[in-house]
């Protein structure tokens, strides 16, 4: 690439609800793999995606303990893409809407993410090569 490009993704869906969250993380991962810097603005329910207190659990119906259940938590996927970005020397700036997080009691996010406001989204859009808004239904 002759010039470093930055892509911005705005996401709104909460975890454990819709495949849009998975697709968004696939896109973020692909962008990093392809050498782009990435901004993420998590708005509304999406602020719970990197919530640090997500926990794996057992499944009594299936008679499986937490390890056997191997329940995926999006905070771990986000940590993985943050690590991938660091390994590749790319920037992944993940901003959670602070008021949205306060409303939902999910302000404790994993390291590598930060608190912000919709003003950050405006700044991201202005500074990025392109922006994809992934709205909730």
């Amino acid at each position: 690439m002759p010039q470093q490009k930055t892509l911005t993704f705005s996401i709104t869906d909460p975890p454990y609800e819709n495949a849009r969250s998975t697709t968004a993380l696939r896109l973020i991962s692909l962008a990093i793999e392809r050498g782009y810097d990435v901004n993420v603005f998590a708005y509304e329910g999406a602020v719970a995606l990197p919530f640090a207190k997500q926990a794996p659990h057992a499944n009594a119906v299936h008679q499986r303990d937490a390890a056997e259940e191997n329940h995926p938590n999006p905070k771990d996927w986000i940590a993985a893409v943050l690590a991938e970005a660091a390994t590749r020397g790319r920037k992944l700036d993940w901003v959670n809407c602070g008021l949205c997080a306060d409303e939902r009691g999910v302000s404790e996010s994993i390291p590598g993410t930060r608190r912000g406001s919709p003003a950050d989204l405006l700044k991201f859009v202005e500074e990025s090569h392109n922006t994809l808004v992934i709205p909730t239904k």
């Binding site: 696939r26 896109l27 994809l132």
Partner: protein, 108 residues
Amino acid sequence: MAEYLFIASRDPFESEEVKHFYGLALGLAQESNTVTLFLVQNGVLPARTSSRSKLLTNLVANGVEVLADDFSLRERGIPTSRLAEGVKPASLGVVIDQLALGRKALWN
């Protein structure tokens, strides 16, 4: 003329909005804009030959590039041999490539 990337994540059997989204893509293509419709998640369901796949073949006939996420197809057990005429399987990386090229992107 402008270049557009439409990303359709919903099944037209689920919502009438999807047809309006296709209609916007069609209108832009008919005005000589470059338009790609990328199907993902349940958005790939009409790509399997069915009563609703005519909506997609009509887009192809009018110059819209219609692509279906290969991962979403595999998740739903849709072999590429069952895809409607003109619909092509593609990697999600196409979305990144087109965003990087500056395409105007819309998600539904």
